[in-house]
Amino acid sequence: MKFRGFREATVLIALAAILAISEGIYFRDKISWQSPIPASELVTVDQARAWGDGAIWVDARPDEEFAQDHVPGALSLNEDRWNELLPQFLPNWSPEKRVVVYCSAESCNAARDVAKRLRDEAQIKDVFVLQGGWEEWLKKK
């Protein structure tokens, strides 16, 4: 009787394992992975705030969200209108400034993409992504 329960548990675990492995094989090409942002490119709200005037805040969210509310002093720079907004951002930048880019939340990719373009295309250094984005900034407001 004692062994019966053990046997049943083993069968259930084996079945679960078979199902999990089958699903893993079936969906192997269907899972999207994105490498995490390196820690050196991330900044917390507290750290970014401590930079004071030495930081330029960049809002990578769509125009409508920026229009609703944004970090005071932030500049809008999103990929919907990148070619139009970048020239508005550049006059505010100088080499000693750090750039803090944010989007809606931890899960959004817009800040990461905008930060990458600033580094790659404009070759601007010291560009950081705000951890937790706008949501986190609101929490610590």
Binding site: F27, E64, R81
Partner: protein, 255 residues
């Protein structure tokens, strides 16, 4: 009368598994929009291969740049349909990956949530590296270079460059077919100023495209940004706020 745990678990599993299933033709769609395309549209087709109706609980795109359209909320057994995901390209370039998360009332967790992926490879007509060159105030006015490369799909033969600020001189040198170098030299770096550079191509014939880069003399370290137009200003079209703060319509991209 004793019912084993195994029998109970297996029977409840098979009852649930046989209930409903939405089968997707493709979970990932790769799109190859052309230069200048505004949208990339993916059609994710499905069929209810189960025995009971499936309800869509939610269909959410990963970014505001993607909109989704479902034809129906209820899919009866044997019924087919599609979810249309429209990715608004905007000024994006390169590899883009957007997801659409579909949630149904299917009781099997693995089948209740499906992540559909839209991949788009957006060509960049003219690659400018970098699209921004700068000198710090007082720095020696040495020339700086912008490397330009045309995409295969954008067979421009020649380009010309125009500096919109007389303090900056810009010259084009051809390197190879579809490749050029622009050399930008400021006459004077003592004052903070900005120069939009307009790069004109000869393609396509009849309506050739132009692109923009920016050259700038930045303020010395520690100084307040002299060119700052309006920090919290909403994204309005570029305007000139000071004689030096000339804004260009685009930088490194198509107009």
């Amino acid at each position: 009368m004793k019912t084993s745990i195994l029998t109970l678990t297996l029977s409840s599993f098979f009852c649930v598994a046989a209930r409903a299933e939405l089968k997707w033709e493709q979970n990932t769609i790769e799109l190859h929009p052309g230069i200048g395309d505004k949208q990339a549209v993916a059609h994710f087709k499905y069929e209810n291969v189960g025995k009971t109706p499936v309800h869509f609980k939610s269909v959410k795109a990963s970014c505001g740049c993607t909109t989704t359209q479902t034809q129906k909320e209820l899919v009866n057994p044997g019924e087919k349909g599609e979810i249309v995901a429209t990715f608004n390209i905007g000024d994006r370039i390169g590899q883009q990956m957007k997801t659409v998360t579909v949630q149904t009332d299917d009781p099997v967790p693995a089948q209740a949530t499906t992540v559909l992926t839209l991949k788009a490879d957006i060509p960049q007509a003219l690659e400018l590296k970098p699209n921004f060159v700068y000198w710090q105030s007082g720095e020696e006015p040495k020339p700086k270079k912008i490397s330009i490369k045309a995409a295969k799909e954008f067979p421009a033969k020649n380009i010309t460059v125009k500096s919109n600020n007389p303090n900056f001189e810009a010259k084009v040198k051809a390197r190879a077919a579809g490749e050029w170098t622009i050399e930008v030299t400021p006459k004077d770096t003592s004052r903070v100023m900005i120069a939009p550079l307009t790069i004109e191509t000869d393609y396509p014939k009849g309506a050739p495209k132009s692109f923009n880069a920016t050259a700038q003399i930045t303020n010395p370290p520690g100084a307040a940004p002299a060119l700052r137009p309006s920090p919290a200003a909403p994204p309005a079209p570029a305007t000139t706020s000071t004689p030096a703060a000339i804004s260009s319509p685009a930088a490194g991209g198509q107009r």
